[in-house]
């Protein structure tokens, strides 16, 4: 058990609304992607879940217990933030030992073995690390915390392709060995779309999408062909994006694709292709208001 329930949460900074009456449930033993454009309210939501901010209205619970000033609920969560929250004069090893004090389930051996894999020297001071290695030290601390809920805010900031690949693999291995609730808040959607089971999209201060990746992608398709034939095909359908190059046109359409659609497309010489989660995200949040 490690279920996060966000119920009717609103958050105002003065008169500025950051989250407007949102409700969402993060179920146990699933990997979630928390997506949204810059300033959409992702970090605000994560800070509310981890009791770093107080909501203006609403309630958040972990396994039924409120998160406000409640160690019992909060200690189930390990939150990797974008910012460094500790004194940067400490070494990586000291951070591990310090975390071990607060998280009884912290696995020191696992942390050191991850340092080996990522080629991070535990004797290094945090302030001497590059952006990438700073992220890596935080990733390792989070993975090794063994908390029931792991939250990563922009985990791959500054990581090169090799280290990103390694992180995704270690994350999955960790999750399979001991299932837990994982929330990945990120802008790099395409790389992680197959890792995720569910996706929550915040747009314009509200929850825009809350569904499984499979359902989201199963409910959209891309079709292309000659401009006139595409125009004919999209009549009465729901295109979220249309791209045209000379006489060629492609349309991304939301809705289920059935045999009749396939037959109609075949007659018009149209071709279907996969919609990527990232592209769908771009189309659906195009109108999102920036703060």
């Amino acid at each position: 058990m490690s279920v996060i329930e966000v119920k009717n949460i609103s958050k105002y900074y003065g008169k500025v609304c950051a989250l407007d009456n949102i409700s969402v449930k993060f179920e146990s033993n699933k990997i979630y992607g928390l997506l949204g454009r810059n300033g959409a309210g992702k970090t605000t939501l994560l800070n509310l879940i981890t009791n770093r901010l107080f909501p203006t209205e609403g309630e958040i619970t972990i396994d039924g217990d409120t998160v406000i000033e409640n160690d019992k609920a909060i200690e189930k969560v390990f939150y990797m933030t974008e910012k460094n929250l500790y004194d940067e004069g400490h070494t990586v090893k000291e951070i591990f030992k310090w975390t071990n004090e607060f998280y009884q389930s912290f696995d020191l051996d696992y942390a050191f073995s991850l340092c080996d894999k990522f080629d991070l020297k535990p004797s290094k001071k945090i302030k001497s690390l590059s952006t990438g290695y700073n992220s890596i030290s935080k990733l390792i601390t989070t993975l090794a915390s063994n908390a029931e809920i792991l939250i990563f805010d922009e985990p791959i900031l500054g990581l090169d392709a090799y280290h990103r690949d390694l992180f995704y693999k270690e994350l999955l291995a960790n999750f399979i060995k001991k299932p837990k609730t994982i929330i990945l808040s990120t802008h790099i959607i395409e790389e992680i779309s197959d890792i995720l089971e569910k996706v929550v999209v915040i747009n314009d201060r509200k929850i825009a999408i809350d569904d499984s990746v499979e359902k989201i992608l199963g409910n959209a398709y891309c079709v292309s062909g000659s401009s006139e034939n595409i125009d004919q095909f999209i009549k009465g359908r729901n295109p979220v994006n249309i791209e045209q190059m000379a006489a060629f046109k492609s349309a991304t359409i939301t809705g289920q694709l059935n045999d009749n659609d396939r037959e109609a497309a075949k007659k018009l010489n149209l071709q279907f292709s996969k919609v990527e989660l990232q592209k769908l995200f771009i189309y659906l949040t195009k109108g999102g208001r920036q703060q």
């Binding site: 699933k30 990997i31 690949d165 995704y168 693999k169 999955l172 291995a173 999750f175 399979i176 197959d194 890792i195 995720l196 089971e197 990746v213 499979e214 992608l217 199963g218 279907f272 292709s273 996969k274």
Partner: protein
């Protein structure tokens, strides 16, 4: 095992098809183990629930079976069963598509037959 992440076919179906392919090719032999959920999930960076969904198809079709605490094994007779299934689909998957493309290019059936005879 080969997965195409740009394909229109969902990943869980590709996982099932890919294991089937390797059984037909004789890479995964009958009564031997296929890769574990962990192996596929970690090496292809795919959610384990997606892999499990692919495996379920194979279990339901009677292609593989689960040995408790060990993993998934290829059933006896799986290879022939898969060959029969693929033969049934051969017309739709290959012949229909071939004729479609040929029609676009104005290639007659007679010409296609000549091509096949030349290559065999």
């Amino acid at each position: 095992m080969f997965l195409d992440f740009n394909s229109e076919i969902p990943i869980y179906l590709q996982i099932a098809q890919s294991v089937e392919d390797d059984i037909i090719k004789g890479i995964f032999k009958e009564e031997t183990q296929i890769p574990s959920t962990t192996e596929i999930s970690v090496s292809y960076k795919v959610n384990p629930a997606t892999v499990a969904k692919g495996f379920n198809i194979l279990v339901e079709e009677g292609i593989v079976y689960k040995k408790r605490g060990v993993g998934m094994f290829v059933k006896e007779g799986a290879r022939n069963k898969l060959k029969e299934k693929r033969k049934e689909n051969f017309y739709i998957t290959y012949i229909e598509r071939l004729l479609e493309e040929a029609k676009k290019l104005d290639i007659s059936v007679g010409e296609i037959i000549k091509m096949i005879e030349r290559s065999s």
